[in-house]
């Protein structure tokens, strides 16, 4: 099955935030929508980065940690934008790739959602790891 076919059967939109949104706004967006992955877009609407749930939690609950690296200290004091928090390297796939060949990228990157991006990095949707697991479990129990 191609990733585009999966999206047709299991449509799910990615949670997007512009690169210049303040980190507090990005955090609020992530929490309101119940997603665990936030994708950052550039001025042209192309996806250019990823922010995970844990990264946001570490920033918002920084004062709860007895030890912080200097990098996290400055993040806590200086604040910033989504672009300051995001990682440019994240798990992603194209619409014509085989689903079985790309799922491992989610596991390698500690992401729950795999964005499916066009050639110009515009998002078509995300593949949700839980939905993949549910399908796999059904297959195992029904023996199909």
């Amino acid at each position: 099955m191609r990733t585009a076919d999966w999206l047709r059967d299991h449509p799910r939109d990615p949670l997007l935030v512009p690169h210049d949104a303040p980190t507090a706004e990005a955090a609020a967006r992530l929490l309101e929508d119940g997603h665990r992955d936030l994708f950052v877009t550039d001025d042209e609407g192309a996806v250019c980065g990823h922010i995970g749930h844990l990264r946001i939690a570490r920033l918002l609950l920084a004062e709860q940690r007895p030890r912080l690296s200097r990098r996290h200290l400055l993040e806590r004091v200086a604040g910033g934008t989504a672009a300051d928090l995001m990682e440019r390297h994240f798990a992603q796939a194209g619409p014509d790739e085989a689903l079985d060949g790309v799922i491992h990228r989610l596991l390698d990157h500690d992401q729950d959602e795999l964005p499916i991006l066009d050639d110009d990095q515009r998002p078509r949707g995300v593949i949700d790891l839980s939905a993949v697991l549910r399908t796999r479990l059904t297959e195992m129990t029904t023996g199909s």
Partner: protein
């Protein structure tokens, strides 16, 4: 059985240092005190001779690499955007407290050495060059313990996160003066050491960011960063540039060109920071010489008091220039007393420079003693400042 060699020595120091650190924590002592005691136990005058450990023979490249890791992390913690957003207050306070400590320690120890007839300006300069650094971990631990928050807490967090960068720059400049044969020679060396380091670190950081972006496998992140770090250290040493400044610039440039949060290029090495400090303290402990220490108690007292006075006075002046409220101006210097791993690493660098001779050993012993004193009075001073400023949120929480 043949002699086990340096790898055994390193393993032994790490293992005993870790156990001694944990035991020290159990009895309410700072963990670094345990690290240092383990190092002292394996110094040549004690177990080192019986076990035929030769720490001095293998430690220079290890401490250079370890200090390179710290400088890279310090450089990578800062972005130009953060500096702009943090505003004038944190920048002026950092400049004030760091340069205040360097100046006051330099002047006090010069006067002290001159009065005893020693006239060793290079020793005073060497000790002063290390005085600007602090230990963010100790200050953050106190803030966490009291669940502190407020203008003093936030300013203090910014200052402790920034001032090691300034401390490393000041140290690198001082090293040029300490190793130059003349003022003119020092000028030429400064151009090469500093200019070469900036170019090397800048180009290396750009390459690291570009190459790091192309990497698909997460497991390759650490080897790539280590390779960049060691190549930068080695090249800097080969061309006569400042290795510390080069790795500081490498971290800064890599973060700048990567234009992201930095998890990919920095998190793997941040996890190694405690191991690096363990190496610094145990190796420094093995340099401990009771004779050197007993001969210069006035240097330890002078260093501790002058540094504290320089930090509090300089921080107050810097905070006032930055428009801080009175509560910040009055108390911020007291939160900056702790000094630990970075200072010991810099002192080891001096001790391992052949040109400094006995002065290098004196620097290590004075810094080691003052770090132990500061590990005790630093957290007390920080908690006093937070409580007096009304920012200690509640009763101290017991640390795990």
């Amino acid at each position: 059985m043949t002699e086990p060699g340096p790898l055994f020595d390193i393993g032994l120091l790490l293992a005993f240092g870790m156990v001694a650190g944990l035991l020290a924590g159990r009895v309410g002592l700072p963990r670094v005190a345990g690290y240092v005691l383990a190092g002292i136990a394996f110094s040549p005058g004690l177990l080192g001779e019986a076990l035929r450990l030769d720490v001095a023979a293998w430690s220079p490249p290890l401490t250079d690499a370890a200090l390179g890791i710290i400088a890279y992390l310090v450089g990578g913690s800062i972005t130009t955007g953060q500096l702009r957003r943090m505003g004038r207050l944190i920048v002026t306070t950092t400049l004030g407290e760091s340069l205040g400590a360097v100046l006051l320690v330099g002047l006090t120890l010069s006067a002290l050495l001159w009065s005893t007839g020693a006239e060793s300006l290079s020793l005073a300069l060497a000790l002063a060059s290390v005085a600007g650094t602090t230990a963010p971990a100790a200050t953050v631990a106190v803030m966490h313990q009291y669940r502190a928050d407020g203008p003093l807490t936030r300013t203090l967090l910014g200052v402790v996160a920034l001032d090691d960068a300034l401390g490393i720059i000041v140290f690198s400049l001082a090293l040029v003066l300490l190793t130059g044969s003349s003022l003119l020679g020092a000028g030429e060396r400064a151009a090469l050491e500093i200019g070469g380091a900036l170019v090397l670190g800048g180009v290396g950081g750009w390459l690291l960011a570009r190459f790091g972006h192309l990497l698909r496998e997460d497991s390759l992140r650490l080897p790539v960063v280590l390779a960049a770090l060691l190549l930068t250290l080695g090249l800097a040493s080969a061309v006569g540039a400042s290795a510390l400044l080069a790795t500081l610039t490498l971290g800064f440039a890599a973060r700048h060109f990567q234009r992201s949060g930095g998890e990919r290029l920095f998190a793997p090495l941040e996890a190694m920071e405690e191991a690096v400090f363990l190496i610094f303290f145990t190796v420094a402990g093995s340099h401990f010489q009771p004779g050197v220490f007993a001969a210069h108690p006035e240097l330890v007292a002078g260093y501790v008091l002058a540094r504290l006075a320089g930090k509090t006075g300089g921080a107050a002046l810097g905070a006032r220039l930055g428009g801080a409220p009175p509560v910040v101006t009055r108390w911020i210097g007291f939160g900056l007393a702790p000094q630990a791993g970075v200072a010991v690493g810099l002192a080891l660098t001096l001790a391992e420079r052949p040109g400094l001779g006995e002065a290098g050993d004196i620097v290590v012993n004075v810094i080691l003693a003052s770090v132990l004193v500061n590990e005790v009075i630093g957290p007390l001073a920080a908690s006093l400042a937070l409580r007096r400023a009304g920012e200690a949120g509640g009763a101290p929480q017991r640390e795990e």
